[in-house]
Symmetry: C2
DNA sequence: GTCTATACCCAGATAGAC
DNA sequence: GTCTATCTGGGTATAGAC
């Protein structure tokens, strides 16, 4: 990887974290360049507009998700086990969820308010997960219901993340995750 | 009601709608005063800071909720019927949810990112509903589980609202609302 | 109470030296 | 590639005339 690409990647990683913690609109170029110890002028050499960074962050997130899903596929052949891997994301990142909610959900919520054309791009983050979830339900024998089941599981996770964040209540998250595991076993 | 109070109320109603549609940070004083055909200078006569308006909006929302809940209590004596009234909010405002999500959830999500001291105030909007829900579960015979059931129902609604908004999919909302009705009947 | 004018700040974005 | 300096716009908030 060339030096320019490395720096670009660092910028995207930093922007990703700041968008998650502070929101997109509330994160300025200065926030990002300061966090990197880089001047604003230099920053503009890599990204011309704020929307460019947003696109790069979304694209990176989707790519990371695809990698995770591929790993889960190889580690776990049982669809139920795969669905449980999805739920284990909640418990594994419970501290971050308590503080900042879900990165996907909060970004989509924010962009929806900004009447941002990039909401479609942002919702692609969900779609990567959703298609994979739908696939697992199909492997369990569901056909027409597979799509709505995938949306159901997305929604369950989002609701848990939002309430956990609002009430700063990790115990609730743990309880709900356990309930979903039971639900998966009963499928 | 005095003239000043009427105007104050109009401002709060307008701010409420704009915060819902555009978000708090993305709504400026100009947006609100323009929508009211009022000058910015005059606007400051009623509200000194943006946080003052936010407080007023939150307070108004809580008050409206308390009124709704009192009405449901008087209209419906069966706890299951009351819980269904809660769910019927989803289907009744499905168009708005599809466009803008849930007003409570999106505001709490946003304020959480702004490290806003008023997140506690904002979460009070949830708490008004939650305490009432907990009460209904207690009437159904649940004791210790009543609190977690109330949080569960809040989370279900929030997840549905977020996914409905992200995917602009009212059919999903309708399906999930029907599923929750079944769940209530089986309690 | 209602208005205009304005101070002030911070954000996104650009120009150009090195 | 990296920097400093700067432009421009929009936001919060205030002053003061009417």
């Amino acid at each position: 990887m060339q030096k320019g690409e490395v720096i670009r990647k660092k910028i995207v990683d930093t922007a990703d974290a700041l968008f998650y913690q502070q929101g997109f609109a509330h994160t300025s170029f200065s926030d990002i360049s300061d966090a990197l110890g880089m001047s604003k002028g230099n920053f503009y050499y890599y990204f011309k507009t704020k929307d460019d960074i947003l696109d790069a962050v979304i694209e990176k997130r989707c790519e990371m998700t695809r990698q995770d899903l591929a790993q889960w596929d190889s580690q776990e052949s049982d669809p139920r086990g795969r669905l449980k891997k999805y739920i284990s994301m909640l418990t594994e990142s419970q501290e971050m969820i308590e503080k900042h909610g879900c990165p996907l959900g909060s970004m989509c919520t924010e962009l929806s308010k900004l009447h941002h054309e990039q909401l479609n791009n942002a919702s692609e983050q969900f779609e990567v997960y959703r298609e994979w979830l739908e696939q697992q339900f199909k492997l369990l024998g569901y056909k027409k219901e597979a799509r709505i089941l995938s949306l159901h599981l997305l929604a369950r996770g989002q609701g848990i993340a939002l309430i956990t964040n609002t009430y700063s209540d990790k115990l609730f998250l743990q309880h709900e995750a356990a309930e979903i595991i039971k639900w998966i076993d009963a499928l």
